[in-house]
Each structure stands twice: as structure tokens, then as C-alpha cells.
Amino acid sequence: MTDNAIALRVAATLAFEELGLLSVGSAVDTPSALEALPAAVSVAFDGAHAGCLTLRVSDDVFRALAENMLGLDGPDAEPWRWDALGEMANVICGNALPYILGTHAYLTLAPPARGAPPLSRAASHVELEVESGRARILLDLPGERRQ
């Protein structure tokens, strides 16, 4: 596992366990098929560095987040589920980037957006067991350091 992947794993574990109240297990070596991780949000960031973090989760994790964070379930919970997933991506991004880019870099995070943008081949990634589901976190840092 690369240093970036370790940082993503630590930040994601913190977010899922502290914010989402979900237990995180091992990192998995065999990535899930994309259709097994249907809910995706991304958080773009800019500033000292530019890039994007994408979070993909399985349906059970997607549903559990809003239920655990707000006690919401059923059809009315659908819009909240996307908000909950977006906040999870935001928190993972905010916690992982200082480890990867240094703690003195000012970054501005954009609001989470549904979907996953195309990634460069150099994107870092980690996939984790979350309860009985999965979550994959990808970090794309295509830009050079800005002066």
C-alpha cells in the first residue's frame, strides 16, 4: 500500500467510524466491480494543490450512513443519503490531504458533487470493508505544485 493509500485508509476509517458510526475492516486487495459500488460522490479541491477525491460505496453503506447519522430511513431519506455521502467524502478529503500534501497548505474544497469524474492513471486508491459492504476512495492529484 502506498503512503497516499495509507492516508486515505486512515482518514476514511476515522470518518466512517466517528461520523457514520460504521465499523471499518480490512483493506481489500481485489477491487469490487463498479456496479457493486453504485453510489459515488466527488470533492474537488484547489489552492496550493488541485485535485479531486471520489468516494464510492455499496448500497448498504449508502443507506446506513443517513440512518446512522440522522436516524433517517425509508423513501424520505433518499436526498439525505446523498448529503450524508457527500459530507463523508468532504471529511475524508479534509482529513487525508494534510497527511499527503503537508499541514501548511491552504486548500479550498468545493461542495460535494454526485458522480465520479474521470481519473488519471496516477490516482491513489484504497477499498475498505465497511460493515458488510464496501467503500472505495480515490484521490487524483494531477496538477503540479503551484507557486
Binding site: 447519522m69 439525505w80 459530507e87 468532504n90 482529513n95 486548500l107
Partner: protein, 137 residues
């Protein structure tokens, strides 16, 4: 059940709170967590960005504002810069997932509290009590 008379901060009277965050999940979580801490809460206002937050502060007697940084229209830091810091203004805690030392230092130098997401209920309670006890009012 927490006895309201013994709730932390109860001697100050109910807090009039403003939560400014573009994520309604985070606003709901912060309010839910505030209630769990046993702090004595009065009216709780919500705003989805800095401009909406300033509008509320113009008309409501807010004693405590919890403010996100990255928001559309007007960021939390720009909102606080416009608000300034006065003896009669609200105590402010910036709540952000930005874990960089640079950001935390920037907020602390502005004279506000800083709470890093994710946080435990006791972290929020402690941050609120610190903000209320901080000198300057």
C-alpha cells in the same frame, strides 16, 4: 435525562445558536449533537452559506455561531471577516474537516474557536464551553 439546572452552561441561560454549513446533514448532526450534550439551548437557527448567516445575525440575538469554512456564495472565513469581532457579537466556533495546521492557526488568530470534523459529542461540548468562557466579551 440531564437535569437542565445542572446542564453545562445552564448558568448562562439558554444559548441562541446559529449553525452555518452548506451540508444540511452536518447542520442536523451539529444540532442533534448539541442537544445530546445537555447544553441549555434556546432558539437554533440554520443557514446554508455565509450570506444567509450574516442575514440572521443582523436580526437575531445569536450568542453562539458554529460556522463551516467552505461554502458557496460566501465562505465561513469571509463571513467572519465581514462580521468582525465585537464585545456584543456571538462567540464563534469554526467547524471544519480541514485538518491542516495552517487553517486552524488562521482561525485561532482571528480569535475564534476551531473544531475539527469528525468530532465526538464531548468535543463539541468542550469547544462550546471554551468559546463561552473565552475572554474578550
Amino acid at each position: 435525562m440531564i437535569d437542565r439546572a445542572e446542564a453545562p452552561g445552564a448558568d448562562r441561560g439558554p444559548l441562541c445558536v446559529l449553525v452555518v454549513d452548506d451540508s444540511r446533514v452536518m447542520r442536523a448532526m451539529i444540532i442533534r449533537t448539541l442537544r445530546l450534550t445537555g447544553l441549555s439551548l434556546g432558539t437554533v437557527h440554520e443557514a446554508a452559506d455565509g450570506l444567509a448567516g450574516l442575514d440572521i445575525l443582523e436580526t437575531e440575538p445569536v450568542t453562539l455561531a458554529l460556522v463551516d469554512i467552505n461554502m458557496p456564495r460566501l465562505s465561513g472565513l469571509d463571513m467572519l471577516a465581514r462580521l468582525g469581532r465585537s464585545a456584543t457579537g456571538p462567540r464563534v466556533i469554526v467547524v471544519s474537516s480541514d485538518g491542516s495546521d495552517a487553517r486552524a492557526s488562521q482561525v485561532l488568530q482571528m480569535g475564534h474557536g476551531f473544531l475539527h470534523k469528525p468530532f465526538a459529542p464531548e468535543d463539541l461540548r468542550d469547544a462550546v464551553l471554551r468559546a463561552l468562557d473565552a475572554p474578550g466579551r
